[in-house]
C-alpha cells in the first residue's frame, strides 16, 4: 500500500521539513489506511508552531512512519472507523481543543484546561472535580447496579476512578477515569531549564524511571549527535531488564496475594526488593533514577559491582524459578487464573494493546525485537508462545520475561564493562528537527517524541506511556467477568496512572 507518510527509524533525528506536511484529507486517508490493515498508533498529537496548530502522527507496521498536517478546528473522528485512535483523539481534544466529530466517547482524559485558552471542547470550567460535565458510561435496567471505586483505593497505590455497571456479580462494563495524577508535565517540558529535564522525566512514572530516562536520553542524543559508548549501552540494558524483573516479580507476588496464596506473595515481595537493591548498587537509587543521562550513564560498572551483581543473580535465579513454578503449577491458583478476564486477540488488535498484556493475547510485538536500539540489536529476544489472553496468560508471560531478562543480564555481566561515566551536560539540540524514540519498558512500548524550533529549543515534548494503550484492555478484560475478580485482573495488567496522567 502506498501512502505519503515518511518512513523513519527509532531514535533517528530528521529535519522537520523532511516530514511530509499533507493536506488534512490526505493525512486522514493515509493514517486510516495504514491503521486499518493492522498498523498501530505510536503517537498522534497536536502542537503549536508559529501560531498555527498542527497534527502529527507516528504509526507503525513493520516500519515507523510519520506525517503531519494543519489541524482543523473540527474534523470527522477517525475512532469511529478505527479504534486505536480512541484515546489519542480525546487527548488532542483536551490539549488543543480540536473536536473529532462523531467520536463515540468523547470525554476528557486528564481533566485540565487546554493549552491554548480556547473554548473548552467539553464545556468544563474546571471548578468542579473530575469528571466535570460528562457522565460515566451507564447501563439502563432495573437490575443494574453501579459500583464506584476510587480515586483513593484501599491499597498503597495511585489514585484513579473505576466505575462498574453490573448485573448481580457480573460486570457489563467498566469505565476507567484517570487524571487525578495530572501534574502538567507536557506543558512544563518545553519551557523548563534543560538541567531539569532528566529529573522531571524520571519522575513521570517512577516505576519505569529507567525506561523514561532512556527514551529522553536517546532523543536528546539523536538531536545533539552525542555518541554513547558500548559499555554505557550495556549498563542501560542491564538497568532496563532489572526494572522489568523487579516489576514483574512484584506483580506476580501481588497476584499470589489476591488469590490468597501467601507463600509466593511473600517470597516475591522480598525478591522484588533484592532486584531493586541491585539497581541501588549500580547507581545509588532503587528505581534507577539518576542513572541514564544523554551521552551514557552516570555510573560505571566497576569490577566490584559487577562481581556482586553476578553473585546475587546467581543466587536468586533458582529461587525465582522455584517460586514462579510454585505459583503457576498450583491447582487452586490455576483455577482462579484460568479463563479469568480473557482479552481475545481480535480485541487486543483493535485496542492496540502493547507489552506483556498484548503478548498474552497473542500480539508478538516487542520493541526490543522489532525496533531495537542500543545493545538490543545484538541480543536475541525470544517471542512468547501463543497464549489465551486471560490472567493466567498474563502471569505466564511475565514469568517467562523474568527468566529471559535474567538470562540477558547474566550474559551481559559475563565480561568486564567499560564506560566513562558522564555527568549531566549542556547540549544544544539541532534546530527545526524531529525525533521519536521507542523502548520496550516493562509495561510495553514507551515512546517519547521531541520537536525543536528554529532556535533548537523544545517546541513540543510528547510522552506516551504503554498504559495509554492498555487501560482499555483492562476494561475489556472485565466484560462479563465477576466484579470480585477485578483486583486480580488489575494486578495482571498493573498499569500506570501517573504515566497516563502526565
Amino acid at each position: 500500500m502506498k501512502t505519503d507518510f515518511l518512513q523513519i527509524s527509532n531514535g533517528e533525528a530528521i529535519k522537520r521539513e523532511k516530514i511530509p506536511h499533507l493536506s488534512f484529507d490526505a493525512f486522514y486517508r493515509d493514517a486510516l489506511s495504514i491503521v486499518r490493515v493492522g498498523g498501530k498508533v505510536v503517537h498522534y498529537f497536536a502542537y503549536s508552531d508559529k501560531g498555527a496548530t498542527k497534527l502529527m502522527a507516528v504509526l507503525r507496521k513493520d516500519k515507523l512512519k510519520v506525517a503531519s498536517c494543519d489541524a482543523p478546528d473540527v474534523y470527522p473522528s477517525m475512532t469511529s472507523q478505527c479504534e486505536p485512535f480512541h484515546m489519542f483523539e480525546r487527548e488532542i481534544a483536551e490539549q488543543y481543543a480540536i473536536r473529532p466529530e462523531g467520536h463515540p466517547w468523547l470525554k476528557m482524559v486528564r481533566y485540565h484546561a487546554n493549552f491554548l485558552n480556547r473554548p473548552d471542547v467539553f464545556g468544563n470550567d474546571y471548578t468542579q472535580d473530575i469528571p466535570g460535565n460528562i457522565d460515566y458510561y451507564g447501563v439502563d435496567g432495573e437490575e443494574i447496579h453501579e459500583v464506584a471505586v476510587g480515586p483513593v483505593h484501599a491499597g498503597v497505590i495511585e489514585p484513579g476512578h473505576f466505575r462498574f455497571n453490573c448485573i448481580g456479580e457480573r460486570v457489563l462494563n467498566l469505565e476507567i477515569q484517570l487524571g487525578y495524577q495530572h501534574r502538567g508535565v507536557e506543558k512544563m517540558l518545553p519551557g523548563v531549564d534543560p538541567k531539569r529535564l532528566p529529573v522531571i522525566v524520571e519522575g513521570i512514572a517512577g516505576d519505569t524511571a529507567v525506561g523514561y530516562g532512556l527514551c529522553m536520553s536517546q532523543a536528546v542524543e539523536a538531536l545533539s549527535s552525542l555518541q554513547v559508548d558500548e559499555g554505557a549501552q550495556i549498563i542501560r540494558t542491564i538497568a532496563l531488564e532489572l526494572e522489568r524483573i523487579a516489576n514483574h516479580v512484584g506483580d506476580l507476588g501481588a497476584l499470589s496475594g489476591d488469590v490468597a496464596f501467601l507463600p509466593p506473595a511473600n517470597y516475591f515481595g522480598r525478591m522484588r526488593g533484592d532486584f531493586l537493591n541491585m539497581t541501588l548498587l549500580i547507581c545509588g537509587n532503587r528505581f534507577g533514577k539518576g542513572l541514564v543521562r544523554p551521552g551514557g550513564t552516570r555510573f560505571a560498572l566497576t569490577e566490584g559491582v559487577r562481581k556482586t551483581l553476578n553473585d546475587r543473580i546467581f543466587e536468586l535465579t533458582p529461587q525465582v524459578k522455584h517460586v514462579i513454578n510454585l505459583l503457576l503449577t498450583n491447582a487452586s491458583v490455576q483455577s482462579r487464573f484460568d479463563d479469568c478476564g480473557a482479552v481475545t486477540q481480535a480485541d487486543a488488535e483493535k485496542l492496540g494493546l502493547v507489552g506483556p498484556a498484548g503478548r498474552a493475547s497473542g500480539l508478538p510485538y516487542d520493541v526490543r525485537r522489532c525496533f531495537p536500539t542500543g545493545h538490543y540489536g545484538q541480543l536475541n529476544i525470544p517471542g512468547n508462545a501463543k497464549r489465551t489472553g486471560d490472567v493466567h496468560a498474563r502471569a505466564t508471560v511475565r514469568g517467562e520475561e523474568i527468566l529471559q531478562s535474567l538470562d540477558i543480564i547474566t550474559t551481559l555481566l559475563g565480561d568486564p564493562v567499560e564506560t566513562r561515566s558522564i555527568e549531566n551536560r549542556k547540549v544544544s539540540l539541532a534546530p527545526s528537527s524531529f525525533v521519536v524514540t521507542l523502548n520496550e519498558a516493562w509495561r510495553g512500548e514507551l515512546s517519547h517524541c521531541i520537536l525543536t524550533d528554529a532556535d533548537g529549543a523544545i517546541l513540543r515534548y510528547k510522552v506516551k506511556d504503554p498504559s495509554f494503550h492498555n487501560w482499555n484492555g483492562l476494561s475489556m478484560a472485565l466484560r462479563d467477568t465477576e466484579i470480585s475478580d477485578f483486583p486480580l485482573n488489575n494486578k495482571s495488567f498493573n498499569l500506570s496512572y501517573c504515566g497516563v496522567d502526565l
Binding site: 483513593v152 529529573v199 513521570i204 539518576g290
Partner: protein, 247 residues
C-alpha cells in the same frame, strides 16, 4: 504441598534486625549530605548552578533536603570538596525548616511529639494517599509490608480506610485533581491524627515545582507532623522515621 514446604526451606528467614542491628547501605546510596562550608566559592557556585532542583543556597552554604532529589550531581561536580553524601539514611525531620541543613540534623526523637508516642506508640494505623506520586514513593512504602522490613511487628500497619486510621501518609506533589480527595481523606480520619509527608514531591513539589497543576508542598494545605526526604526515600528512611517519631 511438598513444593510449598521445599520453597519455604529455600527461602529461610529474611527479616532485618534493624533497628537493633545496624544496616550498611551500598556506597553509591546517597543519604545525609555532608557539607564543607570552606569549599572554594567557585565550586559552590558551580554546584548550585548545576543542581537540577536549585536546592543549594550559596550564601548560607546550605542544602534544602526538601527539594533535593539526591541525584548526586553536586557531589560529583565538586568531587566531594563541597558536598558529599553519607550512607546515613536516618534523615527525617519534624520541622520543615530543619530540611534546610548544613549537613547536621536535629535528633528526630527529641523533636517528636510526646503525646503521639503515648497515643500511637503501641499501635499506629496509617492510610496512604498518593496525590500525584510517581509510584516510586508508594512502592517503597508498600515494601515495608514485605518480610524483610515486616512493619507489622512494630504495631504499624497501612489500612484500607481513613476511618480505621490514626493518620495519613501523603506522597506526590498534590495535583489539583487530587486535592479534594486528599482533603476528604484527611477529614475522614479520626482525630487526633498525624500527617506524614513522604518524598521530595510532597515536601516541596519536587521535580514538578513551578507547575500550576500542583501545590508546592503538602504543608501549604495540611499541617504536617513528619517530613521524610528522598526521591524516593529509602524504605529504611521511612522505617526509621516511623519508629523514632512514634515509638
Amino acid at each position: 504441598m511438598f513444593n510449598i514446604l521445599k520453597n519455604r526451606l529455600d527461602q529461610g528467614y529474611k527479616t532485618t534486625g534493624y533497628p537493633n542491628e545496624k544496616i550498611q547501605l551500598p556506597p553509591r546510596y546517597r543519604g545525609r549530605p555532608r557539607i564543607n562550608r570552606q569549599a572554594p566559592a567557585e565550586v559552590i557556585a558551580e554546584c548550585a548552578a548545576a543542581c537540577p532542583q536549585d536546592a543549594i543556597d550559596v550564601s548560607g552554604t546550605l542544602i534544602d533536603m526538601g527539594r533535593c532529589v539526591f541525584c548526586g550531581t553536586c557531589e560529583r561536580i565538586s568531587k566531594g570538596r563541597f558536598i558529599s553524601f553519607t550512607q546515613d539514611f536516618e534523615i527525617s525531620v519534624s520541622e520543615k525548616e530543619h530540611l534546610v541543613t548544613d549537613g547536621g540534623l536535629p535528633a528526630l526523637a527529641d523533636h517528636s511529639r510526646q503525646h503521639f508516642k503515648k497515643l500511637f506508640g503501641r499501635s499506629l494505623q496509617l492510610r496512604q494517599v498518593s496525590a500525584g506520586g510517581c509510584n516510586a514513593c508508594e512502592a517503597d512504602l508498600n515494601v515495608l509490608a514485605t518480610p524483610f522490613f515486616d512493619l507489622a511487628r512494630f504495631g504499624i500497619n497501612f489500612v484500607a480506610s481513613p476511618r480505621h486510621a490514626d493518620g495519613i501518609v501523603v506522597t506526590g506533589p498534590v495535583s489539583n485533581n487530587m486535592k479534594t480527595a486528599l482533603l476528604k481523606t484527611f477529614e475522614a480520619t479520626a482525630s487526633p491524627k498525624v500527617v506524614i509527608a513522604v518524598g521530595s514531591c510532597a515536601l516541596t513539589g519536587g521535580p514538578f515545582r513551578g507547575s500550576p497543576e500542583i501545590a508546592e508542598g503538602l504543608d501549604s494545605i495540611l499541617p504536617v507532623d513528619l517530613f521524610i526526604p528522598g526521591c524516593p526515600p529509602h524504605p529504611l528512611t521511612n522505617l526509621h522515621a516511623l519508629l523514632t517519631f512514634f515509638k
